[in-house]
């Protein structure tokens, strides 16, 4: 496939606005400005673009939920929090083509009628925040941002807002709270941000990669975009491949390639001549797939049909030396640390899982542990929590237990007797009648 989102990678001075203009940059925004905002939204709906931040929600439809007749300000937020483990694609776009992100922001802002946009970027990305600041200054100097843009009467300011270290602030309502100057506690939905968002105003939150698609949709048309990929799963997608592959990195491929192609053709197969054991197809919050499932198609609907998620397109690859109990421990550590703590099933559940998995890894497993883990995970993933982090931790962990139960059993078979003090969570014995076991 021709490079679309990564076309600037490897080009000299690719970040400079003159380079971007030479490649036809900012033409998409000019075209959008010549159309009524609703027509821009319609074009994006027709392209069938789905959000690249994780949930895969149709972008144009999300915009159409913004009340048209709302009198006060509306906001656009570019989500550059990029904190789903395994994901490093938005950074790549910003590194090589920050103007493309800004143009996407401008198109989306115009379509929803926002005059202020914020780019919420994770705190660790010092370098990339600076790149964006410089890009904004250049775009302003060229009259693509600011007051009365290109004599159309349309105003738009874009500000970079840095996070300060919190995975949960990638979740859109936590992001909004954080932007408002508070702890990043997710909000209950509804109301959805499109109706009540930042500062109580209608707000659209879109991922960097989603926004980067927009200039191309505007210049080349919805039909062109929809011709890439598969029905309802259209367009180019950035896949981040990490772990035990020969060539980790970001690959731009049409939605609809298989994970086999991604891992073996593009990422060069498994390191050191080892064999593939398993992989997370869409970040660590997506249920794991085994080597037998490597022919699953990498698009939103096919992943859902395979019981997992395309998520952010982050493929984490594990070879046959990997201990899946330790993988579970690693992930439980992440989620227990990142749970914001508002909901009991998520706050306690992630910690309990971590305690049990720590115990298992240290050789103090108990025969009831796998079921105990599954039970905790079930509680955290039944819509019992404010935000989807409950599912994000429990689905991958329960998938590890279900698909690699033999490894959990082996760890338990090797276990030493549990010294009484080393027992952070009592092993669950017998059937809990209240909760139906």
């Amino acid at each position: 496939m021709e490079s679309v989102l990564l076309r600037a990678r490897g080009v000299a001075n690719s970040r400079d606005i003159t380079t971007y203009l030479q490649a036809g940059g900012w033409e998409g925004f000019k075209k959008a400005l010549s159309m009524p905002p609703e027509a821009v939204t319609q074009e994006v709906i027709d392209s069938e673009l789905r959000g690249r931040g994780g949930a895969g929600f149709p972008t144009g439809r999300k915009w159409s939920f913004v009340p048209k007749d709302h009198p006060g300000p509306k906001y656009l937020i570019c989500n550059a929090d990029e904190s789903e483990p395994g994901t490093f694609k938005d950074r790549e776009i910003i590194e090589y083509d920050p103007q493309m992100v800004l143009e996407g922001i401008a198109i989306a802002s115009y379509a929803i009628g926002a005059h202020t946009a914020y780019i919420y970027i994770r705190g660790e990305f010092f370098r990339w925040a600076k790149i964006l600041e410089e890009a904004i200054a250049q775009a302003r100097a060229h009259g693509f941002l600011g007051k009365d843009i290109l004599n159309t009467g349309y105003d738009l300011d874009v500000w970079v807002h840095r996070g300060a270290g919190a995975y949960i602030c990638g979740e859109e309502t936590a992001l909004i709270e954080s932007l408002e100057g508070k702890r990043g506690f997710p909000r209950l939905k509804p109301p959805f941000p499109a109706v009540v968002g930042v500062f109580g105003k209608p707000t659209v939150v879109n991922n960097v990669e989603t926004l980067a698609c927009l200039p191309h949709i505007m210049t080349r048309g919805a039909r062109w975009f929809a011709s890439i990929g598969r029905p309802r799963n259209t367009g180019p997608k950035l896949f981040c491949v990490s772990g035990h592959v020969n060539r980790p990195g970001v690959y731009e491929l049409p939605l609809g390639v298989t994970f086999r192609e991604i891992i073996f053709e593009h990422a060069g197969g498994i390191r050191n001549g080892r064999k593939l054991k398993a992989f997370f197809p869409g970040g660590s919050s997506a249920p794991v797939l085994t080597a037998d499932e490597v022919d699953v198609v990498a698009d939103f609907d096919s992943c859902a049909a395979a019981g997992t998620m395309l998520g952010s397109g982050a493929v984490i690859v594990m070879d046959d030396t990997v201990d899946m109990v330790e993988v579970g421990r690693n992930l439980a550590h992440f989620y227990a640390h990142e749970s914001c703590g508002q909901c009991t099933p998520c706050r306690e559940g992630s910690d309990w899982c971590l305690d049990i998995l720590n115990r298992l890894v240290q050789g103090y497993g108990h025969p009831s542990d796998p079921d105990q883990l599954l039970r905790i995970c079930r509680f955290a993933s039944q819509g019992m929590t404010i935000c989807p982090l409950g599912d994000a931790f429990s689905l991958p962990i329960s998938s590890l237990v279900s698909k690699f139960r033999n490894e959990f059993a082996a760890a338990i078979a090797r276990a030493k007797p549990i010294p009484p003090k080393k027992l952070p969570v009592m092993p669950w014995v017998g059937k809990d009648v209240r909760f139906g076991g």
Binding site: P73, E82, S83, E84, P85, G86, T87, F88, D90, R91, R122, G123, E124, F125, F126, R127, D157, W159, H161, R162, G163, A164, G165, A166, Y167, S178, L179, E180, G181, K182, R183, G184, F199, C240, V241, S242, G243, H244, P248, G249, V250, F280, S284, A314, I316, M318, V322, V327, N330, L331, H333, F334, H337, E338, C340
Partner: protein, 174 residues
């Protein structure tokens, strides 16, 4: 790339903080961007951490006053995020990613290596205040696993040898 050292202002000088003109000017610019003062919270805290190296209780009180919030509220925000130093940090804060892709690619070896070479584990500082080790969660650079962030800079595809070289350079430059 040359990583800038952090020069943390000692606690006794940060008990009572008043912002000078330069800080006030930048705070005023930040206020321009948002409809509420509260939204300036993270940018102003970042400004303070840049300036003082860390966020002391005195800094919290000053930020609270400037943003018309209670110190308790600001403290609540500061403590929620991992990147604000609530104690004076070392000159170089080694932030080793411990999440999955990095662990798969050798983060544990790096942690052991640092322990051996500098004698510090996660959360510890060298006695001379040059290095501090933190275990951090996914840095969003997993293609370059294992990754270590030193102050503001990313170092990717790290090996014990590269780490040795980096630590020697930093120790020399400080």
């Amino acid at each position: 790339m040359k990583t800038q050292a952090i020069h943390a202002v000692p606690p006794e000088q940060l008990q009572k903080v008043t912002f000078d003109e330069a800080m006030e000017k930048r705070i005023a610019e930040i206020f321009e961007r948002y409809p509420t003062k509260r939204a300036a919270m993270l940018p102003v805290l970042w400004l303070c951490q840049e300036r003082y190296g860390w966020i002391s209780p005195g800094v919290i009180a000053a930020v609270a006053e400037r943003l018309e919030e209670s110190p308790a509220f600001v403290e609540g925000v500061v403590s929620f995020y991992t990147m604000f130093h609530r104690q004076p940090p070392a000159k170089y804060v080694l932030q080793l990613c411990v999440t999955l892709s990095c662990e798969l690619c050798g983060a544990k070896t790096l942690a052991h290596h640092i322990k051996e070479r500098l004698g510090i584990g996660f959360g510890e500082k060298t006695p001379d205040g040059t290095f501090q080790l933190l275990g951090v969660e996914c840095l969003g650079a997993c293609g370059g696993a294992p990754v270590i962030q030193v102050n503001e800079d990313y170092y990717e595809n790290m090996t014990p040898e590269k780490l040795d070289q980096l630590l020697s350079e930093l120790a020399r430059e400080q």
